[in-house]
């Protein structure tokens, strides 16, 4: 364990320092709100990046997992008297099982097929949430109760900031360990050449399923946290557009870069706030970022910049 811990102490320490320095920069509740949303997005993106960047599989339905987590946290405590933490875990387990059930048959196929299956699944989830008005409140959404942890209600921007900051740190630590473990190396091999990896004795299929399930569970947990934090959720959380936004964050930050995912999530959470006065152009900017990054910086912003800096220093 200590071996794993020491893998990337510099990066993790920096992340911790940035999170700890947050309150120096964040001046009001709105700033905290943006920072917390960025943190939640970053958690989802780290998981999604393991899938896209390391395992080379795309999901166009992660918003569906996010929304299932969110609705589990909204419905279970309210209707069935679950403890909020229990609801969060139940949501995560259900999403994990669902992801497992989808991944097993689909990941045997190649190329676009996971994209299609996850897309279809995400849309089905959003339609079900829309239609089941009696349970989900339908398109108008439903309110969500408070999150209690260890007998304490998590309330106030500062409490949420520290909670999300801590969880983001843990997620990053987990992901870095995964990436630099034998599993991560196997995944890299999968991305490079599946056949070569298989020939080397890597159980390609097993790892792909593992990463898919892990990323779905992360999305679900993030969804649960978001629901409690926001206090209100609508089926739009499951929308295709939301899935695309998550993919965009990963792509912009850089595939196969954990730091990139955090940067991508932060930039694309803050950017709409900066463009708030130009709502007509938000979609244009968003689309152009997606295309531009993929065409000009196919490795994403962070890895490309890092490479340039490395070259200059070398």
């Amino acid at each position: 364990m200590s071996n794993l811990l020491s893998l990337r102490p510099g990066g993790l320490a920096l992340l911790a320092a940035i999170i700890a320095a947050g309150p120096l920069v964040l001046q009001n509740g709105f700033h905290y709100n943006v920072a917390i949303l960025a943190g939640i997005n970053a958690m989802v993106c780290i998981g999604l990046n393991l899938l896209i960047g390391y395992a080379g599989q795309i999901s166009l339905g992660h918003a569906g997992f996010f929304a299932l987590g969110a609705y589990a946290s909204a419905i279970l405590p309210e209707r069935f008297g679950f403890h909020p933490a229990g609801a969060l875990l139940t949501g995560a387990v259900v999403v994990g099982l669902l992801a497992f059930a989808i991944a097993r048959p689909i990941l045997r196929l190649r190329g676009h097929y996971l994209a299609m299956a996850t897309l279809g699944m995400g849309i089905i989830i959003s339609i079900v949430l829309d239609q089941e008005v009696d349970i989900t409140g339908g398109p108008d959404g439903m309110p969500v109760g408070d999150l209690t942890l260890f007998g304490q209600v998590v309330s106030g921007e500062l409490a949420w900031y520290w909670l999300i900051g801590a969880l983001l740190f843990v997620t990053t630590w987990l992901a870095l360990n995964l990436v630099h473990s034998p599993v991560g190396r196997a995944l890299k091999a999968v991305h490079g050449s599946e056949i070569a990896a298989a020939a080397m004795g890597v159980d390609v299929f097993h790892y792909k399923v593992l990463v898919f399930v892990f990323s779905a569970v992360l999305a679900s947990v993030a969804g649960s946290l978001f629901a409690h934090y926001n206090g209100f959720i609508t089926p739009d959380e499951a929308s295709f557009i939301h899935s695309i936004q998550l993919v965009t964050m990963v792509v912009l930050g850089g595939m196969a870069s954990i730091a990139g995912s955090i940067v991508g999530a932060v930039v694309l959470t803050v950017l709409p706030q900066m463009l708030a006065g130009f709502h007509d152009y938000e979609m244009i900017v968003f689309g152009a970022i997606l295309m531009g990054t993929m065409i000009l910086l196919p490795e994403g912003a962070v890895p490309t910049l890092a490479k340039r800096i490395r070259e200059r220093l070398a």
Binding site: G10, L14, L15, A17, G29, P139, D140, G231, D236
Partner: protein
Amino acid sequence: MRFFRKLTRRAALAMAGVAALTLAHAGTALAGDAKEPIKIGSFLAVTGPASFLGDPELKTLQLYIGKINKEGGVLGRPLKLVHYDAQHLAKKAVTFTRRLIEQDKVDLIIGGSTTGTTMAVVKLVERAQIPFISLAGASVIIDPVKKWVFKTPHTDRLAVRKIFSDMKKRGLSKLGLLSGSGGFDKSCAGNARKLAKDYGITIVADETHGKGDTDMTPQLTRIKNTPGVQAFLYCGFGAPTSIVARNFKQLGMKIPHYQSHGSASMKFIKGAQGGAEGVRLPVAALLVAEQLPDDNPQKKVALAYKRAYESAYNDSVSTFGGHAYDALMIAVNAIRRAGTTDKAKVRDAIEQTKNYIGADGIYNMSPTDHLGLDEKSFVMVEVRNGTWKLLK
């Protein structure tokens, strides 16, 4: 290892840069002029699927805030509109409302084009204790009454009541219902189911259609073939209203056809390409301002708003813009009566709004009624020769 450290340092720089930019941006927003304007915050669905609501609403706010400022403002201070486009998304509505309250420090909020975005921020405005006037339809917004939350549009319940009264008058009691999958559609259809009994109406067919659907003939065929059906009601808004009207005509259906106030826009008639002839719906008097009798107190207000809007934007007036007009005027009147922008006093003044004659009707608010409109504020119209005809 060194590589990763550099990489994360880069990330930190980028994040710090972004944060600095946001702050700079915020700084310019805060640097108001010396006269200390009264800040009206708003978040509307200007883009996205509900943009047909937010677009006229925002245009109306901009138009009238400009007018009021030209006439010297309110309490000698100019009005300043701080607007963000929250689309139909609850998440954006929450973030922008926080921004309006905590960063822009607005004095009052008008907004929430849709019920979802409105309900998402109710907790927030109640906690921040800031007057909030919603432009969304559903009755849950003001029922139960929430201390700081008001709204100006007629509720779908009022619309359904108006339609059912008209049906009763014509001796129709067996209704075929079709609704879309949006929040408005569902709430309207839900009220129709709830209220039917009060009017001796039975719903003999109850159909729905999905988002972005382009053909409603299967649902309409089922309604057409339901034995005994005497009238048809469609609850929905946007493009489907026209498609339903066209499909209805295509199937040769002859029973009386009602739609909700969600169809109260010329775009409905134009889109239906003749299919809208004979459709009846409850609308705000605004749409038929010219046809109102001269002694109707609303006539002057409605005509003035209609002319101002249509000449400024070269676009036909819709009731949605009317909601924004009424919300702004109620807010401005309240601030004038309170003589201050103190939030609690403005809230009390809004609640005391009496006999305000607006585009949507005559408002009489009270501690138990944060809408203040009744069924009379709706008029029944029928589409004839491609335009609205006021029914007596």
